[in-house]
Symmetry: C2
Subunit: 371 residues, 2 copies
């Protein structure tokens, strides 16, 4: 955490006075912004420790599991409480463990992750505000239901439309198809990822062109078939899109990053720009989880002609967290792709296999698109 | 539950053969439609009992609380399981109690109710399909963010637009402002209540005119001021509404039913139709919770002139569940209002203080509006 605090402390020392308030710097213990409105705990401290309180008078043991397990201590009143160590800035899923049962914290808003509606805590990052509510024109997120013949079911995708969409009834827009990670769903990029706020802020600052963002549920049936033959036609039929590859991008995180490669990169006639965030497909997620990555086996079309490949891929972006076990394999894959002549952009962010690098990846990727 | 099963059994006996499948009749144990997709439990049986399974090898006691508490039994494998008695059809919040701690069930999709993200189980109702997905044109639910000067915060309201909205760029629509109950939020009427599906089905069957439905978070600040001066102007500015009282209605359940009375009924210059579903304001929810209802004190304008009152209120609808402790006071209030000359419609539905009567109330109320 030092890297977040020292500059401020230093600043204060040099100025010989209290530091001016900086966005993302807490000056006192503060309820997490991810709490159910009005709930005091979990509380985030200026040093980024989190304090938890759980009322469980009859429990034998209560702990918080946010990657590392922190046992809580029982008070006279039957309320268990305790602190974590300073946490990484960003969004962390967590669970409350009551007598060995992994459950959720009634104080937390829940987010679909890890295959369940999971508790989570938002830790602010000093000086970082690109995903925070600002006084800018706000777009909408629309829940678009559509019938899926291949699944024989109604499905819902989330569609972000920029603030100007309704004011420009004759204007058509490019579209980013954005996919969640394993155990998450179509709500993830909007509720956890803040994709709509990120785009509202970028568009207001003229750093990104107005675009639609579509998130669909990707762990279902033959998703390539669903996305290409059902989701995209639904969006092109119901929204004012520019329905060609030049104006379509696909990106995703982890499991969805793999899909951006296997569906997006492999269909240049449909998508011209691709973002692969923290994908395990390059390796680093357990022995034998994935075959060793090789440009020859994975991207023969690049080997055949880098020029032809770069021609049809406007933005080819790969990212990963420095603390993510996938980082070394991802870095190596990006270097191999560059060596093979691909115009690939590789970015490593602080943090692990979590939402903060994914928010930063979308924030950077979106600024490169459709220009 | 007999009232649901006997007719079918009888039908079968008389016909001397298996009954034809009827919507809402289960022929075998079936995972609840409210489960996280793919989760087997809770499972609903043809007699409407629910079976629960919770993996908690280290727990001392595990129970399900869905109004009544049902203890679960620990199996060899550390999995606790058990049955409820037959449950009322409809949507029921529930909690898992692990060693005395009230928590959620990881198998259930969670719904914001009781002030937390709560587990819930959907029990089908024989022959009732008005809130089920059908192959009809589907509208959208849009998350509309807006800045609230009075709260000094961004707020989000949910806005349903009918399927035809985008196809009729010059057409303007009436609006129903719909409020959730205590401990719920703006998502309640759409996620628990299925308001969008109810309207999709009604509009497709030409039983209701195409309309917008707006759900806002009502347990905040001075909500009358927010709704009248912030929410309604936001909706009129961002959607093609008919911005007059004749084309505005307000309804709500429980806490939101009280608001429909205190805000909607009291502002006939803003709303012409009002629905009060299962409100505690008439009494029946604990001694002294509310002053005894009297037309004279609550509605002097009606006493002054029933004609004038009825003139400005197109639809004045009051409903309550037969099993709701509020039913007797609500029935008495409706009779007093009729005696005072109000053209009030009163409806009692099977069920308690729950979503099934509220879904049925919206289904009936919406068919009366804007005609």
């Amino acid at each position: 955490m030092k890297r977040y605090l020292i500059p401020i402390v230093l600043m204060a020392a040099l100025a010989g006075c209290k530091p001016a308030p900086v966005v993302g710097i807490l000056t006192e213990p503060t309820p997490a912004s991810s709490n159910v409105p009005g709930k005091e705990f979990p509380k985030v401290y200026p040093d980024l420790r989190a304090e938890f309180q759980i009322n469980a008078p009859e429990a034998q043991s209560v702990a918080v599991d946010c990657g590392k397990v922190y046992p809580l201590t029982k008070g006279e009143n039957g309320i268990w409480s305790g602190f974590t160590e300073p946490l990484e800035p960003g969004f962390h899923y967590y669970f409350i463990i009551v007598d060995g049962v992994r459950t959720s914290d009634p104080n937390s808003t829940l987010y679909f992750g890890c295959g369940v509606d999971a508790s989570a805590i938002e830790i602010p990052e000093a000086g970082v505000d690109f995903y925070l509510d600002k006084d800018v024109p706000r777009g909408e997120v629309r829940m678009q239901r559509y019938w899926s013949p291949s699944m024989n079911a109604w499905r819902t995708c989330y569609v972000y439309v920029p603030a100007e969409y309704e004011q420009n009834p004759d204007k058509r827009y490019p579209v980013v198809y954005i996919q969640h990670g394993g155990g998450e769903d179509e709500t993830g990029w909007f509720r956890q990822g803040k994709a709509d706020i990120i785009l509202d802020n970028l568009i207001a600052a003229k750093k990104a062109v107005p675009m639609l963002i579509v998130g669909d549920y990707g762990q279902a049936g033959d998703f390539a078939q669903i996305l290409l033959n059902e989701t995209i036609p639904t969006i092109d039929a119901n929204y004012r899109t520019i329905p060609d590859a030049k104006h379509r991008a696909m990106c995703g995180l982890s499991f969805g990053g793999g899909q951006s490669w296997s569906i997006g990169l492999k269909h240049p006639e449909v998508f011209s720009s691709i973002g692969v965030f923290s994908s395990g497909m390059f390796g680093g997620v357990g022995p034998g989880a994935y075959a060793p990555f090789s440009v020859e086996s994975q991207l023969p079309e690049l080997v055949a002609s880098a020029d032809a490949f770069n021609q049809v891929h406007d933005v080819f972006y790969i990212s990963c967290g420095e603390g993510d076990p996938r980082i070394e394999h991802t870095r190596a894959a990006a270097e191999a792709l560059k060596a093979a002549g691909a115009d690939v952009i590789f970015k490593a962010w602080p943090g692990g296999h979590e939402w903060q690098p994914w928010r930063k990846s979308l924030h950077e990727f979106a600024q490169m698109l459709f220009k």
